[in-house]
């Protein structure tokens, strides 16, 4: 069992609350979400298996190193380029989404532009670390937060206001034609494996089948919680009215004996670090890929230029995108991501097979 691999996948499962996955799923609850989710599970697991299996043939190497001596330079650049743009935008969506949440719930009177500076500072500190150190940091963050996640999920599942009838009512719409948007959103849960492009550097041993079984169980449980728990709390008809179903769900929990009575704030504090980590991981991948695209020697000036570009994108995003627009874009972005993932995985699988055969 390789814990680093699990962390990467698990992180994506946690972050889907911020990146509008529950919103998209709940929007299509009567027309194809349930089936979409069911289809997404085998697709997600399958891609996980194929990709990590083929990357596993190159232990301790990231994709830029593996492809470094390839003859088709432009193909490599296209391959790496498309992934880095997608992965950068994944981080960007998370960042913008979470900044929006923070400016709604925690600092309503603070300009978003101001709020984003501290996030960018923290992110840039982390993405410059060596890949191994990023992994160590991820481990610490998850270690600090996992008990809290467990506690909040336990609280929601045991709450008397969780209406199982509402959940089942949505479940009865199982046989609708699956919705592509919902399916793409659900596969995002599993797509943490794409981080292996860079993070394969820290994975030295073979991935056993146990990893994928754990991912299967975690994924199913995660999809269940992201999709159904808001429905249980806010009703099969009412849940879609909320902009952030999970945030409102966490506000519907009350801790009678805790010094912080509103779970919302515990939840937000915990997501502050999780989203920081998720953005950093995604951007670290994009950053390293960008460095790997140019074959020159590393220099500080170039790193700063890349980060300045990242910063400009983030600031532009904050200035020009509002939540509703971001939500709509994300739904289509998910479909694009799914397409690119399927393509990347299959191309790389075939390539790796030929290479090692």
């Amino acid at each position: 069992m390789n814990r680093y691999f699990l962390y990467l996948v698990f992180l994506n499962m946690l972050i889907n609350v911020i990146i509008f996955v529950p919103k998209i799923l709940i929007e299509h609850r009567y027309n194809g979400s349930v089936m979409g989710v069911l289809i997404a599970i085998p697709i997600g697991i399958g891609m996980n298996y194929l990709y990590s299996h083929s990357l596993n043939k190159f232990p301790g190497q990231g994709l830029p190193e593996i492809l470094a001596d390839s003859k088709h330079r432009w193909l490599v650049n296209l391959h790496l380029g498309s992934i880095q743009i997608l992965w950068f935008s994944a981080g960007l969506i998370t960042l913008l989404g979470f900044i929006d949440i923070l400016s709604r719930f925690v600092n309503p009177e603070m300009p978003k532009l101001f709020l984003i500076t501290i996030y960018l500072a923290a992110i840039f500190l982390i993405i410059q670390l060596p890949t191994k150190r990023v992994m160590y940091f991820l481990e610490i963050v998850l270690f600090l937060n996992t008990p809290l996640i467990g506690f909040i999920i336990y609280k929601t599942l045991t709450s008397e206001f969780l209406s199982w009838d509402s959940i089942l009512e949505v479940g009865t719409h199982l046989f609708e034609k699956p919705s592509l948007k919902a399916m793409a959103a659900a596969t995002y849960t599993f797509s943490g494996f794409t981080n292996l492009i860079i993070f394969n550097r820290v994975i030295k041993e073979k991935l056993k089948i146990w990893n994928f079984i754990i991912i299967l169980f975690l994924g199913v449980f995660n999809l269940f919680t992201t999709f159904f728990i808001p429905i249980g709390f806010h009703g099969s008809d009412g849940a879609q009215e909320y902009l952030y179903p999970w945030i409102s769900t966490s506000d519907s929990l009350r801790l009678v004996y805790s010094p912080i009575e509103r779970v919302l704030y515990i939840f937000l504090m915990f997501y502050m670090s999780i989203s920081l980590m998720s953005i950093s991981i995604h951007w670290h991948v994009a950053f390293e890929l960008l460095k790997g695209t140019f074959k020159e020697k590393e220099n500080n000036k170039k790193n700063w230029m890349i980060m300045a570009a990242f910063m400009c994108c983030a600031i532009a995003g904050v200035l020009f995108l509002n939540t509703v627009l971001l939500n709509k874009i994300t739904a289509y972005w998910m479909i694009l991501l799914l397409g690119v993932e399927v393509m990347t995985v299959s191309i790389f699988f075939i390539w790796a097979r030929r290479r090692t055969a």
């Binding site: 925690v106 996030y119 940091f137 963050v141 670090s273 920081l276």
Partner: protein
């Protein structure tokens, strides 16, 4: 050696050394033989010279027998070169000129070889004595606790003027060769005039000379040294300092007290958890107070929010000013009680802590809750067992406080995680400073 050469060396040495008042040149005569001794009496032990040179000189009759005696004596070394002899002479040896031979007689006085009690890293149970200020005694103490043939001792000198002798100890079997190489490289690069004690290395490790966190551990406990040697670490002993330096050190080592070994399992787990909780508390509590009272009072329960609002209603300035004032007072108090002689120390804390705190709330300068927070921060800061580290933590809390003032709750949480990220980034001779699972010898 031809006698004219001996003569010239003798003159040379005398010329270089005799202008100082404490230099002694002595001639002894008997019928058959004649010896001259040159030494500096303030750093040489004259009784040793008396016992091993003067007395035998008069007791042994023939010149040949005395020569044989000198050549076989363990404290006597033969002459090598003039510079080396001069070097040794100013460290306290006596140079003996006998017939056509020159001998170097070890008569160094070892003044500070008494073993001190531990004063900084005290424990309730376990050994109570620390290291001494004498290098050989310290080495002896450690060898005594670590009887392994694989214990390797090398020595080098640091400091242009001080020429301080530094011993590098490690267990050949357990040490990570990569770390050892880095340590030696580092010691070679050290550029300093006066090197007095191992603590100076803490700042020298950073090229910019502005380190925030120590990445080596300075300890006064021989038992800690022995335990760390067994863990494969490198230990530096500095001549004239009663502290040893242990490298590489990571966060875990700074949070460990020797007591953990001397307690039962659950007690030591409890103590560890307590320390980490104290560490986090002292870091974020001031920032959290500002963030919660000024940005997000909804975080509190209603009852608490109301009582804080009530106790703050008389305070004329914003919460962060209140916190800064109180923290500043606390730092002054801590600093003052270190400087004060032991007899007055408690008075300062009583006056400062009790009377000042009470009066400040009475006068409405700070709120009651604030006093509780400041004292909680102060107390929990001292829970960190290694002083060098707890001083660093003292500074970091101001950074988090500043972030909290600007960004509220987000500032506190992100500030804390940025601090963690900084610690993950730090490395101590190739070892990451902070990881959840400390893997042994990872080469990056």
């Amino acid at each position: 050696m031809p006698s004219n050469k001996v003569q010239s060396i003798k003159e040379e040495l005398k010329e270089k050394i005799m202008q100082s008042e404490d230099a002694v040149f002595k001639e002894l005569h008997t019928k058959e033989k004649y010896i001259e001794a040159l030494y500096i009496k303030t750093i040489s032990d004259e009784t040793v010279i008396q016992d091993y040179v003067v007395k035998p000189f008069f007791e042994i009759a023939t010149a040949e027998t005395f020569l044989a005696y000198l050549q076989s004596h363990p404290k006597v070394k033969p002459f090598e070169s003039e510079e080396q002899t001069l070097e040794e002479l100013i460290r306290g040896v006596a140079v003996l000129f006998y017939q056509d031979f020159i001998f170097i007689f070890d008569s160094k006085v070892d003044r500070n070889n008494s073993v001190l009690d531990t004063t900084v890293e005290t424990t309730i149970q376990g050994p109570q004595s620390g290291l001494s200020e004498s290098l050989p005694t310290n080495l002896g103490l450690i060898r005594h606790r670590y009887p392994e043939t694989t214990l390797n001792v090398e020595s080098t000198t640091i400091g242009e003027i001080s020429k301080t002798k530094v011993m590098i100890l490690h267990d050949e079997k357990l040490v990570d060769q990569d770390v050892l190489r880095r340590v030696k490289e580092f010691l070679d690069e050290v550029d300093i005039q006066m090197f007095q004690t191992g603590e100076q290395l803490l700042d020298l490790i950073k090229k910019s000379n502005r380190a925030l966190f120590p990445v080596m551990l300075v300890t006064e406990r021989p038992d800690r040294v022995a335990v760390n040697l067994a863990a494969g670490k490198v230990v530096l002993l500095v001549s004239g300092s009663s502290f040893a330096v242990i490298l590489p050190t990571v966060m875990k080592d700074f949070m460990a007290s020797m007591e953990d070994i001397y307690q039962t399992y659950w007690v030591s787990i409890f103590l560890q958890v307590l320390r980490y909780v104290g560490f986090v508390t002292s870091l974020i509590l001031p920032g959290l107070y500002v963030a919660v009272t000024s940005y997000n009072p909804e975080l509190f329960r209603f009852q608490l929010a109301l009582s804080i609002a009530g106790s703050r209603s008389a305070v004329p300035y914003p919460s962060f000013v209140e916190v800064v004032i109180m923290l500043f007072m606390m730092e002054l108090l801590t600093e003052a009680s270190i400087r004060l002689p032991k007899a007055i120390g408690p008075t300062a804390t009583t006056v400062g802590g009790l009377i000042l705190g009470q009066a400040a709330t009475e006068a409405g300068l700070v709120s009651n809750i604030m006093i509780i927070i400041v004292s909680a921060v102060a107390i929990s800061n001292f829970v960190v067992p290694i002083n060098a580290f707890s001083f660093s933590v003292r500074i970091v809390k101001y950074i988090i406080l500043a972030l909290a003032t600007c960004f509220g709750l987000v500032g506190v949480v992100l500030g804390f995680f940025m601090f963690l990220a900084y610690m993950v980034k730090l490395d101590s001779f190739g070892q990451p400073f902070l990881t959840l699972v400390q893997t042994k010898s990872t080469k990056e």
